[in-house]
């Protein structure tokens, strides 16, 4: 399972914290558990809890509290557009609307192939380079700044292609 598959990574993560404070490794371990499917399975929560000697409810609490963790199946990629005040002052809301129109979905929806979800999020600390968004997948996060609807749409198209090939390789969901 998860614990066996990533035993090296888990050891590396655990080594960052004092041995009697294993619990501190819970956040990086959840990222690790989310790597393949972009959400944390109940089984993974149980395994993380066992590794750290805490209860699976404790792990679930952490998953629930932080917004970058998911406990349900979602899209392969999440395009998260910052529409907070400074970005909104520079047209982030119009950008988001334009992008969604271009993709034919509404904010918070996933493209029909299940590859990309577009959502509005809170400040991403790139206020001077709005409109901007980040793309989250199991592999991590990347920033895309000073965007136009066109540049974003072509990126989404690329993500959809990638998601398709990922699924062919047996990853994704």
């Amino acid at each position: 399972m998860f614990a066996e598959k990533y035993s090296d990574e888990i050891q590396a993560i655990l080594s960052k914290y004092p041995p009697e404070q294993r619990r501190a490794a819970v956040m990086p371990l959840i990222y690790l558990a989310q790597r393949e499917q972009m959400y944390v399975t109940k089984q993974a929560m149980v395994e993380i809890a066992e590794i750290l000697g805490i209860s699976s409810t404790d792990v679930a609490s952490i998953v629930g509290f932080y917004t970058l963790y998911y406990d349900k199946v979602g899209s392969t990629y999440r395009v998260q557009v910052c529409t907070d005040l400074p970005c909104a002052l520079r047209g982030a809301e119009q950008f988001l609307e334009g992008l969604c129109n271009n993709l034919g979905i509404r904010v918070g929806e996933t493209t029909p192939d299940g590859a990309v979800m577009v959502e509005a999020v809170m400040c991403l600390a790139a206020c001077d380079k709005a409109p901007m968004f980040q793309v989250q997948s199991g592999d991590g996060l990347s920033y895309h700044e000073n965007q136009t609807v066109e540049s974003a749409a072509s990126l989404v198209a690329e993500l959809r292609r990638k998601a398709q090939s990922k699924r062919r390789d047996g990853h994704g969901r």
Binding site: K16, A24, M27, P28, I54, Y69, C123, C127, L141
Partner: protein, 433 residues
């Protein structure tokens, strides 16, 4: 370079102290950083200074926390409880305040100066481990810092028995996962410990009860990045920058309705006018500046009149126009913006980010969001505006941490200083003017 003293001077003339990558784009390379004198301060403190001396220098320099509260940094270090061991350093890189984006640029461009600052702080309090808490969105940045830390370890700048002494230090990164509240220092400590990022009761403060219950110094990235310079060039030099009570340089994050948003490294005490019009290129389009938020979404709304524009940006002067300097994240609002719309934006943010631990913040932000929503939709009455003001006052001063109070700043000052906008919104129109 100052011709008389040979010490670095102001950034305006093309020389940066914190954003040094703007002068030397390759300063993120270890070789380049070392060639330019990097890590000399680090070597100096370890090989020739007592921990207490380091703290004293920082104290004398007048450096104040750049994260928002402006607490004297040296004093914080001196508070560390020396009866309880081990000690920890936590660098606050959870930059999540709308309008703040300076730490990211420092860490991306000038990582070693920051890490050197972390290291010097660790030595000053004799910590053997330091954690850099980055917001989860800084995923790539964390990987970059991990590489930089590895390079330092390979070069013998971090690790065991540094420079032939018995002192050892490890720096680790720790990624958050999307929670603004983790920027609050005790919530951040909880988060590193693997718990919900909810603030702790204070006292006890981190210097006596911090990470894993041990004495801990929590400093902002920008604060720590100043430290190598202070050690290298001396406290007096640092004091000579900025104003009398607000020493040093500061990075001002300029965003909103300006031509050239971005980070500007300027001495404390620069006026709003200079920042917005000289550096920021003025207001976009043909608009007038209407309001200024000096500390991101948490700030009071400053009415952008002539007096306000001429106010020096330092910890003492900004309160004179009814606001705080905070993290110096200046959001410029032009006259096309409706203030109710603006506070609805900030309320959404605070409601989303309230951790839920204490009642006034949890319920108050939720309620205020409903009210601002109705006001913006035009389905509210003036009574609702009064109610909004009431609710904000009800939240203010009753919360466990500062987030709840912050959430009321824009609301209260908005209603007080931009009342016509609310009257118009209630009447179904958008902008006053």
């Amino acid at each position: 370079m100052d011709a008389d003293t040979g010490l670095p001077s102001q950034s305006q003339n093309g020389q940066y102290l914190l954003l040094r990558h703007r002068d030397t784009p390759s300063i993120g390379e270890l070789e380049v950083y070392r060639r330019l004198g990097g890590f000399e301060a680090w070597q100096k403190v370890i090989t020739s200074m007592q921990p207490g001396q380091v703290t004293d220098v920082v104290k004398t320099s007048g450096l104040r926390g750049r994260g928002g509260a402006g607490f004297p940094t040296g004093m914080k270090w001196a508070f560390i409880d020396n009866k309880n061991w081990p000690h920890y350093v936590v660098a606050n890189a959870d930059e999540s305040e709308p309008g703040t984006f300076k730490d990211r640029e420092i860490m991306e461009g000038n990582p070693f100066q920051f890490l050197e600052g972390v290291a010097i702080c660790a030595y000053a309090i004799q910590a053997n481990a330091a954690y850099v808490y980055l917001r989860g969105e800084f995923w790539q940045l964390a990987a970059w810092l991990d590489r930089k830390i590895a390079e330092m370890e390979a070069a013998g700048l971090l690790g065991e028995k540094l420079f032939g002494t018995d002192y050892s230090l490890h720096i680790y990164t720790h990624l958050g996962a999307g929670a603004y509240i983790c920027g609050e220092e005790t919530a951040m400590l909880e988060s590193i410990e693997g718990k919900l990022g909810q603030p702790r009761l204070r006292p006890p403060f981190p210097p006596s009860y911090g990470l894993f219950g041990k004495p801990t110094v929590v400093n902002n990235v920008e604060t720590l990045t100043n430290v190598p310079l202070i050690i290298e060039h001396g406290a007096e030099w640092y004091r000579s920058l900025g104003t009398e009570k607000s020493a040093g340089v500061k990075i001002f994050s300029l965003s909103g309705c300006v031509e050239r948003p971005g980070n500007y490294e300027l001495p404390l005490g620069t006026t709003f006018r200079e920042l917005i019009f000289t550096h920021g290129g003025g207001i976009t389009g043909d608009r007038q500046v209407k309001a200024i938020m000096a500390a991101g979404a948490s700030s009071a709304l400053i009415v952008a009149n002539e007096e306000a524009l001429d106010t020096p940006m330092d910890y003492e002067s900004v309160p004179r126009v009814g606001a705080q300097l905070g993290s110096a994240s200046v959001i410029v609002i032009d006259d096309s913006v409706s203030i109710p719309w603006l506070i609805n934006k900030t309320m959404h943010f605070f409601k989303h980010e309230s951790c839920g631990k204490c009642t006034p913040c949890r319920e108050g932000t939720f309620w205020m969001m409903h009210l601002t929503e109705r006001i913006v939709e035009g389905s509210a009455t003036l009574e609702d505006v009064e109610l909004l003001q009431d609710v904000a006052n009800q939240v203010k001063g009753k919360c466990l941490c500062a987030l709840g109070d912050f959430s009321t700043e824009a609301v209260l000052t908005g209603i007080e200083r931009f009342r016509p906008d609310f009257e118009l919104a209630v009447a179904g129109s958008a902008v006053a003017n």
